[in-house]
Symmetry: D2
């Protein structure tokens, strides 16, 4: 079912942009796991809206209330449910959407699928706001993984045509990586970061939007995790990543870039480093046959430009049954990529925790 994910660890996301609350249930967490709620809140703050000029002005604290699954600060084996109450809804912004679908938004497909009964306010169940409970699940998953030496890092890899440097996926330095993801604008190369910011602001000023890519790396994962065929690391990770709104592509390791190379260039040769077998390059993104090879797992995600732009667009009126013009009002991110960075981390963490 659409809002459920996982096998050993099962998560269920619920809520709409303007419903009383949004939330998540996580079942299968090992009992007796301490949760650092401050660390979790810091992680959630990376995604929360209203923090800077690159994101929507909607202010939400995103402070989860845990109603079950926790005794003291520790998981108790029962499903953990966290709620985030919606507070800063302004629903009259969304009056026209029932009639005039916003191009490249889910308005039209929701209208067809749910026959006009969908919750249209704020994007309803399709809203990026639903990534908040995903981040609750992912933030907890990250903490559990870290206790096992597995860490998940993401950064903005590109905004429009401005590219950040790539993660070092052969010899990662976890401490430096942590510093990168702690930045308010998480890029390796801050000069490129400045150009990206300017690109976003320019787009905003033009009443337009831009997209970009997020690179994610998982370190500390030992060889042998995953499965062949339909249940491999790539299948599972892609399956949850496409649950993040605006994602339109994913590639592992060299991905589409590997199609431009010869096999002799793309193959990752093995050698002994002390007693460990490692590879000289990591074009495969740490995954062969759906199974981890002990190198970091690396993948890149494509996020389309935010479809909600302030510029006038062409659309149709269901009621009038004719073409019409549309000007979208309301509060929107000119670029979703910055806020998607922790969401990618969260989704990856949930997928990995479910597999190991």
């Amino acid at each position: 079912m659409s809002s459920f994910f996982g096998n050993k660890i099962k998560i269920s996301i619920f809520g709409q942009s303007h419903s009383k609350a949004i939330g998540v249930t996580i079942d299968g967490l090992p009992a007796g796991t301490p949760i650092d709620f401050d660390e979790l809140q810091e992680f959630l703050n990376r995604r929360a809206p209203g923090q800077n000029e690159f994101s929507t002005k909607r202010k939400e604290e995103d402070k989860p209330e845990f109603v079950s699954g926790i005794v003291g600060n520790t998981t108790c084996g029962a499903p953990l449910t966290a709620l985030i109450y919606n507070k800063n809804q302004i629903s009259n912004d969304y009056k026209n959407i029932m009639d005039i679908p916003r191009p490249s938004h889910a308005d039209f497909t929701a209208q067809v699928k749910y026959g006009g009964f969908q919750d249209v306010a704020g994007g309803g169940h399709f809203s990026g706001r639903l990534t908040a409970p995903l981040c609750v699940a992912g933030g907890i998953a990250k903490q559990i993984l870290k206790q096992q030496g597995i860490e998940v890092f993401s950064h903005i890899s590109s905004i429009k045509n401005i590219k950040d440097d790539a993660f070092d996926s052969v010899n990662p330095d976890n401490q430096k990586l942590q510093e990168v993801i702690n930045k308010p604008f998480p890029v390796l190369n801050d000069l490129k970061g400045d150009l990206m910011k300017q690109t976003i602001i320019n787009a905003k000023n033009e009443l337009d939007s831009v997209g970009g890519t997020v690179e994610c790396m998982i370190t500390g994962i030992k060889a042998g995790i995953g499965n062949p065929n339909f249940d491999g690391l790539e299948n599972r990770i892609s399956s949850i990543i496409f649950g993040i709104p605006a994602v339109k592509g994913i590639e592992f390791g060299n991905g589409f870039g590997s199609t431009l190379l010869f096999g002799s260039e793309n193959n990752d040769e093995y050698y002994y480093q002390d007693d460990n077998i490692v590879t000289k390059t990591n074009n495969c993104g740490g995954i062969l046959g759906g199974i981890s090879n002990g190198m970091p797992i690396v993948f890149k995600v494509a996020l389309k430009p935010t479809p909600s732009i302030a510029k006038e667009q062409n659309s149709v009126s269901f009621k009038e049954k004719q073409n019409t013009k549309l000007v979208i009002k309301g509060r929107h991110d000119p670029c979703i990529v910055l806020r998607a960075v922790p969401c990618v981390e969260a989704a990856a963490a949930v997928a990995i925790l479910d597999l190991i």
Copy 2:
């Protein structure tokens, strides 16, 4: 579980490259569906090895034997199981693999996961040969979909840096598309096709390999199919597509290309075409919020260069615990892309049949 896929329609793939047989079970097919076995065989022939200079010399007829689920030429509601007996195995080709893993192949990860008990002959369960039963399932799915007006088409979109033209995903012409996929080398632009062939042959002569991309389009799918969050069209399709060996990336519609555009460029504006609401462009690949919008579904898949190359490579010896050189013998495709084309069609057809 790794070799199972689907919900309403469940498939289970089994077999190893050199086991007695490979096969597939499909459960959930509607009873009373006639199967055109000749058409199915033609589809399977598109994937079968040994047909031209671009693929391995291993000769297999890939003629499925149906042991259950069929009465006469018609499904009976019981699970359908088809076997393909392996005939042309030459197992002594694979002697060294247990000791020296082939770079970027699943040898190493299988060794770690299965502790040396994996079937190493011919790649075992990781072999591309397992796409034959996937094509049996997909070929049947294609026939059932076609009865409902839904068709699935794939072509070689690129080989290394040579690009074919793109499918017209706004106004597709099914008849022309069928002609394209019937070509022995399925490209839209045959001049580009000739360059691709030359690229493959050159790589082969250099004892090397090349990769490429496959574009897939699904026409005739009405709006409203799919789900939000983790169970959308993109989640489901990517989840099965990464089950095809060598796939390292997938993008829907404009995919990674959309990250280079402004929202105003990437958004697909609506207009009325007679009484239907359609879009002027199809940058979203026919999917919004995980749900079809009535336009063709389009996606592109990245296939890495075949890791099995004849060139000498560096690797390690498990036994000797030291670095060593490796020369792979045996019969291998210098480029897997051509044979992957029907596999992508098959996988997409199964995913769609499972969702509608």
Copy 3:
């Protein structure tokens, strides 16, 4: 995962007896379904504690708060989540359980499985209180089923050795059945009901408890629903019914009774009633080969006597590592059967809604 059930309709139950809240998420409900909240509350009241002398004195209103999935009074296609806040917890009643497990309660198995981290207060996640959110899901399922002509009825079939009459599963009268389940003590034969009540009160006075059986019937279900093998009506219904605490057995139709008959006695012969094929008897409980035959579905559930009794019992002390005596304090039902009646209805309704 343990607290998830279903395929087309997925429910996820969360909460512990004394956590901040308990609740349920239901995904897959058709959009645009009106919910009668008063009717739902009436249904929930049938299960709520503290209403009479046969149930625990813990007073809970069991008034669900819907935080998502509803717009107005109508489902919107997004997952519906309902919370019931726990109010009347008295946690000091449960101090000793961590040390001395109550016989035939889940204390001991939870202790082993969760290593002492389980929420012990009030039975934690194992508490009968978790049937309240199940009843929210089931109450909604009942309403949706009723709109399709399918109704679910349950009554107390026996308390200890006192047996009620059986439902007429050949010619059911829905109106009369509704009257039965609306009774405060839902039995067909009120004289037997009085004996049952006396049996419960006697047991209570003896600081003891009693069990019994619940019979459930589903009318209006057409032939052809269900599946063979592992996914039939019996598999699905039993799979959810054993989620109700204290259930130790289930039988369909004549069940264990059919093992005492000859085939010629147990077989349900067909005949034409007007244009419909019906059976003269309903020993099969409306299910053949896992699939409904158009007759009412009937099954019976065995509920053991409440394990929490006030009488002194033998047990062990984990801490002291020795045998000890145990006297359970707190508020407990002397017989869970009465309150289990709507739970069985709820569980059956969810299972059927998931299958049709």
Copy 4:
């Protein structure tokens, strides 16, 4: 899907009574597990038809052919598929079934569900013959469990009103239990066994059939296995057991019997036996809150009398749209219970292997 079962271990059963072959795929078996094929064959022989006067005269060797998943005598981590070719089909026995459904058989429900396209020969996919591949899976599961000290035993618990003694579920003696299940007519009390045999033969001579119960016990399972709510031992075991044709009821431990007791009688009190906490009685069947308590798991299954009897019965003709008489020809077991014994063991073994 109907013919699939399991989570960690997934099985897929395929085939019809008279299809070319029947079989099973098992995915998730640990690589490197040796299989004793002789022991497996002995187990399968316990179920095979045509061995004595109590079962159908259809002669099938039930000798599985393993086409994948095995290298040498050892699992290789890839899905294991075993086929049993059908040889002794006599299809003309079943001519009339398409028109006149046999009472209490799945003919009618299959006809409705599959619209007349179902494979009617020999019961098609609903045939008891499908328990042969279940026994292949279960026989392998039994071997793997035994390597971990877990054993599964079943015996005929009753035929009609003749009851065997019960397993000792407090202090089981595995060696004696093994002797019981190795008997051609597996009962504890052979005098009762003789009466049962006479009951079956009498029924056969009367052109009638009888049913009975099977008791199953799992020893050596440690405490803490299973889950609360919908994923406990009872849920999982019942979910697979109802996949055996003719099963109409299941009860764990004292089951329906516990409804006749006071709580003080039914509760299993704990005490220390050396350093282990055990119970004096085992009325709960080794399961509390869905989780094993370390005592043997015990359950009983009700099997209805074989619906295929030689006596004339009343039924209807679809074609003539009127009532008619039916005399069933063909080869049928007068009592399915004897052959169900290993099937119950097999199903339980698969369920347990999937959970531990």
